[in-house]
């Protein structure tokens, strides 16, 4: 299978869906000629024109609201939100307007739109350009939240997101745009709500989202060297959340560490731990453990920033303690 970058995979997903359905369009800041600052949408405007690849002013609440209106009337907008940190700016339109329309209208109105945005620290981008805000969005009923971890996933999940008839937010780790990985030539979709068991194990389950999946995989390698068998699961979508796969794994291993790059408190890891506790309680050999980003604004200084994010070594360390029963 050919290897392509994350950016190319995302680009293909958008282009294929725009070819497939004339109601699909993308809008955002510098998505056209500039192809976004991360060069993800390069080439789209040449193929689809400036009407369907729409450069907007710097008006996130405004164009998010317009996407809601366009989708209510039959379009399938993709909103390109340059940094995940700007989610705060579109929260009203996303949560009060998009998420609730279908329910408030008793099922009569639908809002098929996608917000593609990013997350992830360690780029020295400081507190307002480094946040991972997936938990905020997942808390709101009526929105789906995808968190791909590879080029393969970003393409498959994005295509599913665009065809979904509900509002979807897809978070990409900013560090992944240049990541390469195998992506089929043939069309494919990755369904929402199905976690991916990357590797089987018996001693502990490592559950990761987005780039934290790689952290879990690396931790599993470290653990393997120590004779500890870790099962690694990629959550893929946190809303809907594939509780079943996670619970079954933890019932088998009796232990789990949940890793996500959002702030730990009131975050994604809290929810997954709470559900595992409820569903797998009688199978647990050790407390469910979680590792999110530290509960601090992301610092700029290279001497500090990396300390705030979970690492493979840190995960492996905790895992060893859980498995050996050391506290």
């Amino acid at each position: 299978m050919r290897n392509i970058t994350w950016s190319q995979a995302m680009n293909e997903a958008i282009a294929e869906e725009m070819r497939h359905d004339e109601t699909v369009f993308i809008m955002g800041e510098d998505v056209a000629e500039a192809g976004t600052p991360f060069k993800v949408t390069s080439g789209l405007v040449e193929e689809f024109g400036t009407q369907r690849v729409l450069d907007t002013p710097i008006s996130e609440p405004g164009f998010m609201g317009m996407a809601v209106g366009a989708s209510l009337t039959g379009m399938r907008p993709i909103v390109d939100l340059m940094f995940g940190d700007f989610i705060y700016l579109i929260m009203d339109q996303l949560a009060n307007q998009a998420a609730k329309q279908h329910y408030m209208s008793g099922g009569k109105l639908t809002v098929p739109l996608v917000v593609r945005t990013n997350m992830g620290a360690t780029r020295r981008s400081a507190a307002q350009h480094s946040q991972s805000l997936q938990a905020l969005v997942a808390h709101i009923p009526g929105i789906k939240v995808a968190m791909p971890s590879t080029p393969y996933e970003v393409k498959g999940l994005m295509k599913t997101a665009i065809r979904d008839n509900n509002p979807v937010v897809i978070f990409e780790d900013k560090l992944s745009y240049q990541m390469k990985g195998p992506v089929p030539e043939e069309e494919y979709f990755i369904p929402f709500g199905q976690a991916n068991v990357i590797s089987q194990g018996t001693d502990i389950t490592l559950i990761g989202t987005s780039s934290m999946v790689q952290v879990c995989e690396e931790a599993a390698l470290i653990l393997a060297e120590k004779g500890i068998s870790a099962e690694v699961i990629d959550v893929r979508t946190i809303a809907p959340l594939d509780e079943h796969t996670l619970v079954e794994s933890v019932k088998k291993t009796g232990r789990a560490i949940v890793v996500d790059e959002g702030h730990q408190s009131f975050g994604v890891t809290s929810e997954i731990v709470a559900r595992l506790n409820e569903q797998a309680f009688y199978y647990l050999d050790a407390p469910l453990t979680r590792m999110g980003a530290m509960d601090v604004p992301i610092p700029f200084s290279p001497a500090l920033e990396d300390l705030t994010v979970p690492t493979a070594a840190g995960v492996a360390d905790k895992a060893v303690k859980l498995v050996t029963g050391e506290r």
Binding site: P57, G74, K108, K144
Partner: protein, 326 residues
Amino acid sequence: MTNLTTKDIPRLLQAYRQMVTIREFEDNANELYLTAKMPGLTHMYSGQEAVAVGICEALKSTDYITSTHRGHGHCVAKGANLKLMFCELLGKEEGYCRGKGGSMHIADQSNGNLGANAIVGGSAGIATGAALRSKMLGKDDVTVCFFGDGALGQGLLYEVMNMAALWSLPVIYACENNMYGEYTHVDEMAAGSLTARAEAFGIETHRVDGQDFVAVNALSEKLVARAREGEGPFFIVLDTYRYHGHHVGDVNRTYYRSKEEEQHWKTERDPILLLAEVLVSNEWATQQELDEFKAAIKKEAADAVSYALDAPYPDESEVDMHVFVD
């Protein structure tokens, strides 16, 4: 003033009918609320009828509107059915939103009403997006965005007006200036000029007497036609007045507006009386005909209320339906 001819009679009678329907709807809703038969809280449109009707009579049912917390008038004017509206206000299954939306979220997709909104200014983006869709698909639909003077405080409006102007979208921003946002006068909330706020973006603006159906409708017809041709967006300030309190519970109002002011609008500036006068003075209808008209509508509204009162609530199983569509 617009020159009316006998050709206009059907249009004027239809408008009269719609305005009276709104007034009757609101009087019933108010009564339902005061007699504790209606849950939640609601905002009466009475007094502003010529705005909704004047504009919506210039629209086709395939044109879109977005509405506000004070949205019953827009809903009726855009063609909604009274029974389904009262069902919605009472939280009944047959309501436009199966009782899930209520007064503040009533929507009527079948007539292009994209919904009331409980976030002041919250529908400005939606309206502009609906207009974007028309342009993208090459349709000649027009979207009207209704909002109050208070919504001028929301930054979202300026963001989307800029984009509507940049991209010449077929949207009409209809600012219903009833002079108050809750308990505060517009002069204390809006500095400078209301119309200049849209002109700044190069949008053509108009200001019209919102109590005068004939004037509102004539302007709307013109602007809607031009918007269809791609000459939009437009912005209209419609000067009007709400007869009731901000919401049904706002009873003691003298600290923010005088009884005399209320009286003046109700007696001198009532949109229904003003239109009746046009009809009667031109001898296009007799007062008696109009009264009979009104009585029929009264009955229709009363029937709709009884219907809705008797209608069933949604089943409990509906509570977690419609969070997502398949």
